[in-house]
Symmetry: C2
Subunit: 160 residues, 2 copies
DNA sequence: TATTGTTATACTCTATAACTATA
DNA sequence: TATAGTTATAGAGTATAACAATA
């Protein structure tokens, strides 16, 4: 059974290996490094939850934010994601091409578009949120409930 | 004062904004999302510590690992970083071009190269490790010492 | 003047695939 | 056959710069 000529996988699909017998030096004391490893681990959970739909973490973030803030414009969306306006454009195009999001003219600002989930988008995003949240909790099940809450608290404190 | 025509900044240089008044929906309950935000915040610390040298987090990881494991080969290095062999190649080329790392033939395996820091590389990496560790701690100073330890513990538990 | 959307363009990172030398 | 290194190529993500329309 040959794999089909699938072009590219979006990212790494394996956790960052902890190579046995190797000396990691100062890395083990850096929050930055541990954060990166934990993030890759959680990305696997995300990937398991969104398999095959082509929804990456930034796209998921965008969909959730559009759903929770109907009429948000592309510049603000870019700010939320920490990307440039041109990138937010590409995102909106991608969603629109799939019929998940539509652009409607702002009533009070002729420059801006408001982004809205379509009915189809609503359904899809609702299901996706459930799956992503479930997988996120499943992967974090190595932590106790108290540990999970504490981790969330510390991360948010750190992110400022 | 115009900025020089500097080509590209390697990544985002601002924290992911928390846009006031916006509803973040389910994102606030996801470890994955909080991890991402915390990671970006810590990347800023890293960037402050390595300003102008062109050393990105993967490059820093590679340098530390080569320094702590002299003679490591490129394939293993790739495994440590979670990237393909071809990417490890490019890394080694980049270091070698700067005279920080040299390739020496393995004695017992004619296929492999062993990677070693040059004296210049040793000096540079030692200084860089100090600065990165100091900035990492400085940025994490919003946490108490106990909180920092606890965060590290939870992250490592999560990363598996 | 500043901001929104838009387009064109460029760069970084990393993957895949094919090849060679060696094991 | 399997693995290390190498090279060529391609794609995703995102930045900058410029422009038109609107504020």
């Amino acid at each position: 059974m040959k794999r089909p000529p699938s072009p590219h996988r979006p990212r790494t699909l394996a956790p960052i290996a902890r190579v046995p017998g190797l000396d990691y030096g100062v890395l083990d004391e850096l929050l930055g490094y541990s954060l990166r490893r934990a993030q890759v681990a959680m990305f696997l959970a995300f990937h398991a939850a969104t398999r095959g739909v082509g929804v990456t973490p930034p796209r998921f973030t965008a969909l959730v934010v559009i759903g929770a803030n109907p009429g948000i414009n592309q510049s603000v969306l870019g700010r939320v994601l920490g990307i440039a306006r041109s990138g937010a454009m590409a995102l909106a195009d991608w969603f629109e091409a799939r019929g998940w999001v539509e652009r409607r003219r702002h009533l009070d600002d002729g420059r801006a578009w408001g982004l809205h989930l379509t009915p189809r988008g609503e359904t899809l995003v609702a299901a996706m949120k459930r799956r992503v949240a479930a997988e996120d909790r499943r992967r974090a099940a190595v932590l106790g409930a108290g540990e999970r809450r504490e981790l969330l608290r510390l991360l948010n404190k750190l992110a400022g």
